[in-house]
């Protein structure tokens, strides 16, 4: 379970997050709503240990990680608002990218990647990511996040860059992938359609969680 304990983030005089306590158990989809500038992305970065909180702590399965990069590699699947693919690499190479960080890459990784992309509706896994449509790019990004069946998926505005129709499809794919893997899913978004699919929605306002 991902847990944030009394987490505060201060930047100078500004309090971005104020004493946030949040738990995301396995298999549960939690949405964080809130207006722009309310601290949603900061919250997600703290949850993914990309940002050290000024106060409080983040634990996974009850312990604090001493190796955030290693923890993310083994535990977290990240989905970004604007996909963050490497445009010069193929869709498949993007999906396999996190495996390149590991000391060893399993032999059937490419096969699994192709199968995952097919499941996401990407028919041409060897096509360069840079020339895919925005909807296809986000599908590739989701495939990258869930290929290793991570127990925790963090998604930052995954539908914000897409039209309503494509956004709806992407939301369904993301939630289905999380549920299929039994993963904890934490999504920050102000897309009502996406938030409506969540098991629980919390609202962040002025750095405080309602």
């Amino acid at each position: 379970m991902l847990a944030l304990h009394d987490v505060s983030v201060r930047v100078g005089e500004l309090t971005v997050l104020d004493a946030i306590t949040l738990a995301v158990p396995p298999g549960r989809c939690v949405g964080i709503a809130g207006p722009s500038g309310s601290g949603k992305t900061t919250l997600l970065h703290v949850a993914g240990m990309l940002l050290e909180p000024s106060l409080g702590s983040v634990t996974w399965q009850g312990t604090r990680s001493r190796d955030p990069a290693g923890w993310r590699r083994k535990t977290v699947g990240f989905v970004f608002q604007d996909f963050c693919l490497v445009p010069e690499l193929s869709a498949l190479a993007n999906v396999l990218l996190p495996m390149r960080f590991a000391a060893f890459c399993s032999g059937d990784a490419a096969g699994r990647g192709i199968a995952m992309l097919a499941e996401m509706g990407i028919a041409h896994p060897h096509r360069r990511a840079g020339i895919l449509s925005r909807g296809e790019q986000q599908r590739v990004a989701i495939a990258r996040a869930v290929l290793n069946t991570p127990p925790l998926i963090l998604a930052d505005e995954p539908t914000a860059s897409l039209d309503a129709g494509t956004g709806g499809q992407i939301a369904k794919l993301l939630i289905a992938a999380a549920r299929q893997a039994g993963a904890a899913l934490l999504v920050v978004s102000h897309d009502p359609a996406l938030l409506a699919e969540m098991d629980e929605v919390r609202t962040l306002r002025g750095g405080r969680l309602a």
Partner: protein, 408 residues
């Protein structure tokens, strides 16, 4: 851990910049490589050209002029020494062989050198590749690069050699009318300026200038000894001593009494020392040039990393350890510098070969600029230095805060 897909992706993303970086580094490195290779080739070629000139004797004056005129046929008006020295040297037990070198005439831009048949064959080391060596006063032997046919009749003119194969307008006005040499042979290439010379009996050179033929009778057998009452002077005498001690003794003896004796090698060593100083300055300038260019490239890489910090932050967010990002940036930068260095090595050698061809065209000295370990070592050092310097932008790439970079 496999950083290569990301390295390749980075190269593709900045291929225009990468190509320019490689070109600039290659040009900077090529200058250093070319200077080193050319200086070495020039030194080897000039040393090879003086191999058959163990000891030179001439009139007191500039040692360098004597060497340049005798070995490299950069014909200058040298004062003459008494021709009787030839007989004296020929009779000396310390001397294995001796020959006069008389110049000052020209045919079609090729210098005409008066000497003996023995020296034409370089003391028996060379055999004509065509025809034979001269056996009579009106015969001539060609160096390998002289474009005249065997059997041709040639008339010398007084004056300095011009462009080989092209008669100077002055040549026609200063022709020794009535003197005709018949070309009887051609020598194999020696890679020296003598390949462009026309070699004739010294007796004919003397006679052409109204000095007799050096012998009591006319005609007389060619070559030493010269038994005329008064033996004409010559600009230079080349001596092959029996041994090293003999060479030093002869040099000491002929450094007095109106003659100057020297080992061309010692003059070359002095020239090489100056050449070496020039080379050191050029290599230092080139190294500084390389260093500045490397710094510029690295600065460019730092700027590019700044622009692409979000890309590397995504890798970190996806779980890439800092060392992975460090490897991606370091390998990418080092490979660019290394590629530039290798292309520069090839360009430098090619440039040196081209410069060697130019020197050969101007002087006849076969400057064979070949790839050498020195330049390879220089490039190896540059790659190592570049690799070490590339650690700086690589390390900077790992220090950028992830959350902040993701928002950039």
């Amino acid at each position: 851990m496999n950083p290569f897909p990301m390295v390749l992706a980075d190269w593709r993303a900045m291929r225009g910049t990468a190509v320019w970086c490689i070109v600039l580094v290659a040009l900077a490195v090529a200058i250093g490589v070319a200077v080193g290779a050319q200086e070495r080739a020039l030194r080897q070629a000039s040393a090879r050209a003086s191999d058959d000139f163990a000891l030179l004797i001439g009139a007191p004056g500039s040692q360098t002029s004597l060497v340049l005129a005798s070995v490299y046929l950069q014909v200058e008006a040298l004062p003459l020494i008494d021709g009787a020295n030839l007989n004296r040297l020929a009779a000396d037990k310390r001397v294995a062989a001796v020959a006069p070198i008389a110049f000052g005439d020209v045919v079609n831009g090729y210098p005409v050198i008066g000497t003996t048949a023995n020296f034409v064959t370089r003391w028996g080391r060379l055999a004509p590749s065509e025809g034979r060596v001269f056996e009579a006063e009106d015969e001539a032997v060609l160096g390998s690069d002289v474009r005249l046919p065997i059997g041709a009749g040639i008339t010398p003119a007084h004056g300095a050699a011009g462009a080989p194969g092209k008669a100077d307008p002055d040549e026609a006005r200063h022709r020794h009318e009535g003197v005709v040499y018949k070309v009887v042979g051609r020598l194999p290439p020696t890679g020296t300026p003598w390949d462009r010379a026309i070699l004739v009996p010294v007796e004919t050179v003397w006679e052409t200038h109204g000095l007799g033929n050096g012998h009591a009778r006319d005609p007389a057998p060619l070559g030493l000894p010269f038994d005329a009452e008064s033996i004409p002077g010559v600009p230079a005498i080349v001596v092959k001593p029996v041994g090293v001690a003999d060479a030093y003794a002869l040099r000491g003896q002929y450094r007095q009494g109106g003659t100057m004796a020297l080992f061309p090698a010692e003059v070359l060593v002095s020239l090489y020392r100056n050449l070496g100083d020039v080379r050191a300055v050029l290599v230092l300038a080139s190294a500084l040039n390389d260093g500045l260019l490397f710094l510029s490239v690295l600065l460019l890489v730092v700027v590019l990393i700044g622009l692409r910090r979000r890309r590397y932050a995504v890798l970190r967010a996806l779980g890439a350890p800092a060392v992975y990002v460090l490897l991606v940036v370091w390998l990418g930068t080092t490979a660019l510098l290394a590629a530039g260095c290798l292309v520069g090595l090839a360009l430098g050698w090619a440039g040196s070969a081209a410069a060697g061809a130019l020197v050969a065209a101007r002087t006849g000295l076969a400057v064979a600029a070949a790839p050498g370990a020195d330049e390879a070592l220089l490039v190896g050092v540059l790659v190592l230095v570049g690799g070490a310097m590339a650690l700086v932008p690589a390390w900077l790439a790992t220090r950028a805060p992830i959350s902040e970079s993701l928002r950039s």
